[in-house]
Amino acid sequence: MQSAIVDNSTETRMATKPPWTVYLHDYITTVDHKKIGILYILMALVFLVIGGVEAILIRWQLFWPRADIIPPKLFNQLFTMHGTTMVFFVGMPILIGLGNYFVPLMIGARDMAFPRLNSLGFWATFLGGMIVYFSFLAGDPPDVGWFAYAPLTEKTFSRGIGTDCWATGLLVSGVGTIAGGVNFIATIVGLRAPGMTIGKVPFFVWTILWTSAQIVLAIPPLSAALIMVLLDRHLGAHFFDPQTGGSAYLWQHLFWFFGHPEVYILILPAFGMISEVIPVFSRKVLFGYEFMAAATMGIAFISLGVWAHHMFTVGMSRPMEIGFAASSLLVSIPTGIKMFNWLATMQGGKIRMDSPMLFACGFLGVFVFGGLTGVMLAAVPIDWQVSDSYFVVAHFHTVLIGGTLFATFAGLHYWYPKMTGRMLNERLAKWQFWILLIGFLLTFGPMHISGILGMPRRIYTYPPDRGWDIWNQVATIGALIQAPSFVLFLVNVIGSRWWGKPAGNNPWNAWTLEWATSSPPPAYNFNEVPVVRSRRPLWDLQHPEDPDWKYEGEHA
């Protein structure tokens, strides 16, 4: 094991610096999982800025009642592109990127199972985003909402190329996402280090495995539905046009069969990152690994059977409503197990409030809040009352920002030293956290209230006599407060790359295999593929007198 550690320090690498074109060529043609992971993350960060600007413009328009800063059509285009961007070109790529970088390292592999397919996956995802944004250049971005309800997508209602760009872009990026999912499954199943049974994989790897299973099951129905949209628009088919015998209802089923597992595609890896960060910064093993693993599987399975809770108001039959309400409520059980296990991991630990842990704690608080409103929305009568209102907008932003974004920041702050060999600036990171948290609460807290007061989502303006003004104004101020936190993050990431403190191989004194190689790791990751006997191989190495494998059992 000792010999598995390699030196590839930043100083050594930078001694002979090649021109930037060499770097560019290197990254464009790379099949190295780490470089592809970085490409995914960079792509996601660029789209995060774009989607964030769109969000600020939306909020700016809603600051005053009867405002006319942004015309209605552009407003529709902005919220369509904002949702599409954040789900398809920020959320998934950043998680797949982190998975790409760290899954092979964490399981002791040299690369992904299919390195060239990995490259194809990134480029397809990236080019899919380019196609969707090409619609801006063509002067007609899509304005059908991120879930593009039929028959709005039919030629009758969307005559320009915006919807075509949206559908074809998502089709292309779907190819990339499926390629990524297949690659993760093959890598985790087939390339684990000797001794690393499936019960000993780091928890982040376990969540990526189940996320990939969801990707493979959920993205193809979306691709099929998108092809049907294109057939409707270009070859005169009538899949989704009710006036000619089609069914708008069918689109909703197909879209949400993808759409709700998608929520868990975005949250399971976040759970994985939190499950890596909390034990290391509590100095304890993850409490109840087996239950956590079972809960992850449970969520992955249940999430495939809850999609129609997005459709309670379309008028389904009573048994359908009861069934989907029950299955949706059921998700809260494995999720609750996870939450209690994270708290139990922290209980009695030596907690260090470094920036990754700070974001993890932010995740715990905010995600519970978002989860509880999810339980409310799973109840049919409540859903009928607040469906398509700002309450729903508040709920899913609380889950996706409070859950995915906070957890992703926890992961990025945790693993940045491994990726660059430099520590992030802690002071900037903590400023970023508090500004983001305050801005987030101010933005999405009031949306719950305006939603309950009856404010529908997607409206471009509102009358002044509904009592919605103050809540919209606070939400907009919150969004403006959030914005600098992202700037701080970018400044920190870029600045620390050059001026950050050297990190060493294992700055957090962590226990999984990625910390057993240099920072950043060499192209081949490890000199010798390490042998693993427990879930914390570095603990075993550090404590030969008291190794974990004595407690876990050899057959775990």
Partner: protein
């Protein structure tokens, strides 16, 4: 022949410490651009699609070419190895006690199942007592229980429900036995998580769990057994559950505790 020889020479001239890794390649990018242009053509002009198809096949061809032996790989020299670091800027020793398996002794799951059987035998007593006291006779509660799987029982009159029906008796007994066993099993599984002293077991098994079960039944009865929901008297329902729980708890207390096989590292 000469090709094989040159390959052998190449192998011999490699640095001793190298690792074979996939070589960088542009073909996946070319293939992706092909797919993207194919799609863009649908939205714009089919000329793009034609170019896309050409690129798609060029990319595919290049990719397949790289799958030939020794074409898609390169050998990378290994860098020297320093010792692993355990003392980073934030070194804090880990907490060890969290890995112990507690408690060290528990009542076995079979004790819970036996408790379920005893509770199941005791439970009909208060149920029958209530039914006779309320003037319904002894067969009334078992007919109501059969309503769980016989929805048409809701059409029967109260007088008919008080009569003896052999079919409903068999169904009612099967339901009661199965539920007693399943709840006993659940109780047995939960035992290690419940308080380990006798008072704790009595409170958990005889009061807390029956109350939780009653709450669940109250919520779901209208859906799973509308007949019972219409006619049940909840105070007596609670008494029956508590009797079941007390019987199960006392059976568990009387059972022998077993040791959890210690982990190798447990002190």
């Amino acid at each position: 022949m000469s090709e094989a020889k040159s390959e052998k020479e190449a192998t011999e001239s490699r640095p001793a410490e190298t690792i074979e890794m996939p070589r960088s390649t542009v073909w996946p990018l070319v293939l992706s651009v092909g797919i993207a242009l194919l799609m863009v053509g649908i939205a714009t002009n089919l000329v793009f699609s034609v170019v896309g198809i050409v690129l798609l096949f060029v990319g595919l061809g290049g990719w397949i070419g790289e799958l030939r032996p020794h074409h898609g790989e390169e050998r990378i020299p290994i860098v020297d190895v320093p010792p692993i670091e355990f003392a980073g800027p934030a070194k804090v020793e880990g907490v060890r006690r969290a890995r112990l398996r507690l408690p060290t002794t528990i009542h076995p799951i079979s004790a819970g199942v036996r408790g379920g059987i005893v509770g199941g035998l005791l439970m009909p007593i208060p149920a029958a007592a209530w039914s006779i006291w309320a003037g319904h006779g002894i067969w009334y509660p078992i007919n109501l229980l059969a309503g769980l799987v016989m929805p048409d029982l809701t059409d029967l009159s109260a007088a008919n429900l008080e009569q003896f029906h052999p079919t409903y008796l068999v169904i009612g007994i099967i339901i009661h036995v199965l539920m007693s066993l399943v709840i006993g099993l659940v109780y047995g599984v939960l035992l290690p998580t419940l308080p380990s002293n006798n008072v704790g077991i009595i409170i958990a098994g005889g009061i807390v769990l029956p109350m939780i079960w009653t709450g669940l039944c109250h919520g779901w009865m209208g859906i799973v057994n509308p007949l019972l929901a219409d006619r049940v008297e909840w105070p007596w329902f609670v008494v029956s559950q508590v009797v079941f729980g007390l019987g199960a708890s006392i059976t568990v207390i009387l059972s022998e505790r077993v040791s959890i096989p210690p982990a190798e590292g447990d002190a």
